[in-house]
Symmetry: C2
Subunit: 194 residues, 2 copies
DNA sequence: GTCTATACTGGGATAGAC
DNA sequence: GTCTATCCCAGTATAGAC
């Protein structure tokens, strides 16, 4: 049903646009990443971008989706022997890509509007993330007084909130503070390998 | 040095603009709150707004500053018998003013740019807030394994992050989850009135 | 000091030519 | 299917009227 001759070029262009968008965001920050500038990197006009993605917001939503694919949270968290360590690894990695963190935070706010193209994306992603957290963490530490969903919401909230603090003051130690929180949430025993 | 006759009108206008900005943000959301629309509510031209505030971003920063004055965090937290209860009360109150929460969150992100007029505002406000938290909470619960500053950063992060979750899904119980977090962070004893 | 009129820039989006 | 030409609206800077 797909992949008829002329589709190939379009698919390639699409990828190229997403890469370029990421590039520009990384260099100039999200706020100054205009369609014009991204289009220049690709070598086309702004309208060409809107031909593939309906709007600027949809384009940036696609960037986030792509990020979730190739360096996504879920795999890292799940594949790691230690779920907590995998989660911290993701946070450490985010330190290296400030542009993406800014994009993510910005869209988190804008997507509050149900009409925003990223609204559903955030709803679904958050729920997936939280159920992953709830499963992973509860198996490690049964002793917490918090029910799994509340625990998951807290971890997610702290993680998102720390990103805000870190963006304004990059000296903030995101991984360290998250580790301290998780540690503090484990009342008694640490690791019983039983 | 101030308050010569003709100042009165200007001061009043300034207040009027801030009120109108809040009004428009509340009704149309932050993203769609244009200078034009705010100006129309006041009954002037957009240029008039820029006469009082240098730019749109400065105007919105002023809105936040005004909020901090008359329904600010610090007094509530400090005056309350129970510091934790005062803090939760503020969060409960925020549930009633979604426009302000959206504005705050949006500027939190935009202010990451050191050139943004709200950059210093957030740096200072955050530090003040955290030292308040650090003092209040440590006096109540000495037993936590967390040092006061880390504890304060966590509380602040969780609070900000919960707002993001709540904006996308208003059924999220911000006060309840924050209470659960604070409770979980108190390992053993609850309140020793000693 | 307060403000309108006006014009300029740059953004995202649309219609329609290739 | 691709992109140029165009449009509209945002925020802003300036000049000068009250």
């Amino acid at each position: 049903m797909a992949a008829r001759g002329s589709y190939a070029k379009g698919v390639a262009r699409r990828e190229e646009i997403l890469e370029s968008a990421l590039d520009v965001i990384g260099r100039k920050g999200y706020q100054n990443a205009s369609l014009k500038e991204i289009a220049e990197v690709v070598g086309v006009t702004p309208a060409a971008l809107l031909h593939y993605f309906g709007s600027k917001e949809e384009l940036f939503t696609a960037v986030l989706r792509k990020r979730d694919e190739h360096d996504g949270l879920e795999p890292s968290v799940l594949d790691a022997q230690d779920a907590v360590e995998g989660f911290l690894e993701v946070i450490r990695h985010n330190t290296q890509v400030p542009g993406l963190v800014a994009l993510f935070s910005r869209l988190s706010v804008d997507a509050a509007d149900p009409a925003h193209p990223a609204h559903d994306y955030f709803l679904e992603r958050s729920e997936r993330l939280r159920s992953t957290i709830a499963e992973s963490f509860s198996s490690e530490q049964q002793r917490t007084t918090l029910d799994p969903d509340t625990l998951a919401r807290i971890i997610q909230a702290a993680s998102d909130g720390l990103q805000l603090q870190w963006m304004i003051d990059p000296t903030v130690d995101m991984p360290g503070i998250m580790a301290a929180l998780i540690d503090a949430l484990q009342p008694a025993a640490a690791k019983t390998t039983d």
